[in-house]
């Protein structure tokens, strides 16, 4: 056994060089961004890299930004959660993502952890994915053959897997600029207020909530959840029930019921399936009842 810490590391200075390397020997490459997941895995022996490591941290000039482009808010893959937490643009456009960023780890982690790493690490407990799902985010993967953009909801086929290919690098996350009024929600339930792994996460966005005779009516809605299924999950069926519908107590009950059929929480050393299921449902209730109050 060779010492994994002595493994060969390639640190390209440009995005095109990185993509070129992946094109040639992508299946042997381990991509290293902020290292907050990988270094823990290395220390604990969960990650035993073979081949070589592709350190992308020096492509910062090309991959660390938060900017508007073609009506989208775009974040480079090396954008840190500290960047997100202090971004005025995101505070306006994606308050739930900003809220999530501020609750990730603590300052030391936020300064290093990247959004690309969070997405690619594919943990069901990753905090940025539920808000990104609720914000209809798309991710951009780049290979030698060019970029492809796909919605985040189609990104996680199974537990800790993504549809990204070894020849691809995640380069960007895009969120459509909000063009009509929204109400946003983020709540992370965790054993403590910092440095904590989520037990349940719900992020939500509702567009165009209007007051009607019978109650508020939701224009459209997106719901993203974490730690309650093998992957980060968008709740399509629950959204469908709520979309364009008037929020009545019975609809809220039905939505909660639907949520329970969509998620599949488990018992583990951090929490119980029952708690996760009920609390996830209650978070949805909390979001919806606040819509009732606010509209």
């Amino acid at each position: 056994m060779t010492d994994p810490r002595k493994i060969e590391v390639f640190s390209p200075e440009t995005l095109s060089a990185a993509v070129q390397v992946l094109a040639e020997v992508g299946s042997e490459a381990h991509i290293l961004a902020g290292g907050t997941d990988l270094m823990v895995a290395l220390e604990k022996g969960f990650w035993q890299p073979k081949g070589f490591v592709l350190n992308i941290s020096r492509i910062e000039p090309e991959l660390r930004y938060i900017r508007m482009e073609d009506g989208d808010v775009c974040m480079g893959a090396l954008t840190t959660f500290a960047d997100i937490a202090r971004s005025d643009l995101l505070n306006t456009e994606a308050p739930s993502l900003v809220a999530a960023a501020r609750e990730i780890g603590a300052q030391q982690i936020q300064n290093r952890a990247t959004i690309g790493g969070n997405i690619m690490n594919a943990s069901p407990a990753g905090d940025s994915m539920p808000p990104l799902l609720a914000l209809d985010a798309r991710v951009v993967l780049k290979s030698n053959e060019g970029p492809r953009t796909l919605p985040l909801f189609s990104f996680y086929p199974a537990y800790r897997e993504t549809v990204s290919q070894p020849s691809e690098l995640l380069t960007e996350v895009r969120i459509a600029r909000r063009d009509s009024p929204t109400q946003d929600y983020f709540r992370k339930v965790a054993p403590r207020r910092a440095q904590a792994i989520s037990k349940v996460i719900l992020a939500a966005r509702a567009w165009n909530v209007e007051e009607t005779e019978e109650g508020p009516r939701i224009g459209s809605i997106r719901l993203g959840v974490g730690s309650v299924a093998p992957t980060p999950l968008r709740l399509f069926e629950t959204e469908r029930l709520l979309e364009k519908a008037v929020l009545t107590p019975s609809l809220m009950g039905a939505a909660g019921h639907m949520l329970e059929t969509e998620i599949s929480p488990i018992d583990d050393m951090r929490s119980t399936a029952e708690y996760r299921r009920q609390v996830c449902r209650r978070l949805l209730d909390d979001f919806l009842s606040n819509l009732l109050l606010e509209s």
Binding site: D3, P4, R5, K6, I7, E8, V9, S11, L32, G35, T36, M39, V40, L42, E43, K44, V53, N55, S57, R58, A82, G105, A106, Q107, Q108, I109, N111, R112, R193, A194, Q195
Partner: protein, 165 residues
Amino acid sequence: MKITFELNGALTTVDSPPLARFLDVLRDTLGLTATKEGCGEGECGTCSILVDGEVVNACLLPAIQVFGRSVETLESLSDPAGPLSKLQESLLATDGAQCGICTPGMVMAGTAFLRQLKATGAQPCDRSIRQAIAGNLCRCTGYSKIIEGIKMAAAQGTPQESAHD
């Protein structure tokens, strides 16, 4: 491999495996033992250092990523027998260090926070201080005296100073 960076103001080159923990480079290769290891998994903050002015955990930092960066460790804040930094003085005054194993990390996280306050001219409150050191566990003090120390140090930095800094 050879990695060159700025360490406490001086250009430094070390020969280290690329994925070695920078914590080990500091402690074992360079003999700078003020930075501690409490957990090795990014949770406790005893290994906090500043990289380009931002507080990070040295146990999660691959050596190769300090290349070309500026690193500050606790050793940079004072010389043996020389004057202490404001925060160090304040922590001494409020008795913020009991067993002391968390103290180096606390001082570094606190220093980053105080510089940020100075840069923005913001006033610290109990909540923002608690947030700033939430990545630094302390098992001895219950945090109160550390928070008092940071408050005391913040009160000494005058807003005028921050405007020109």
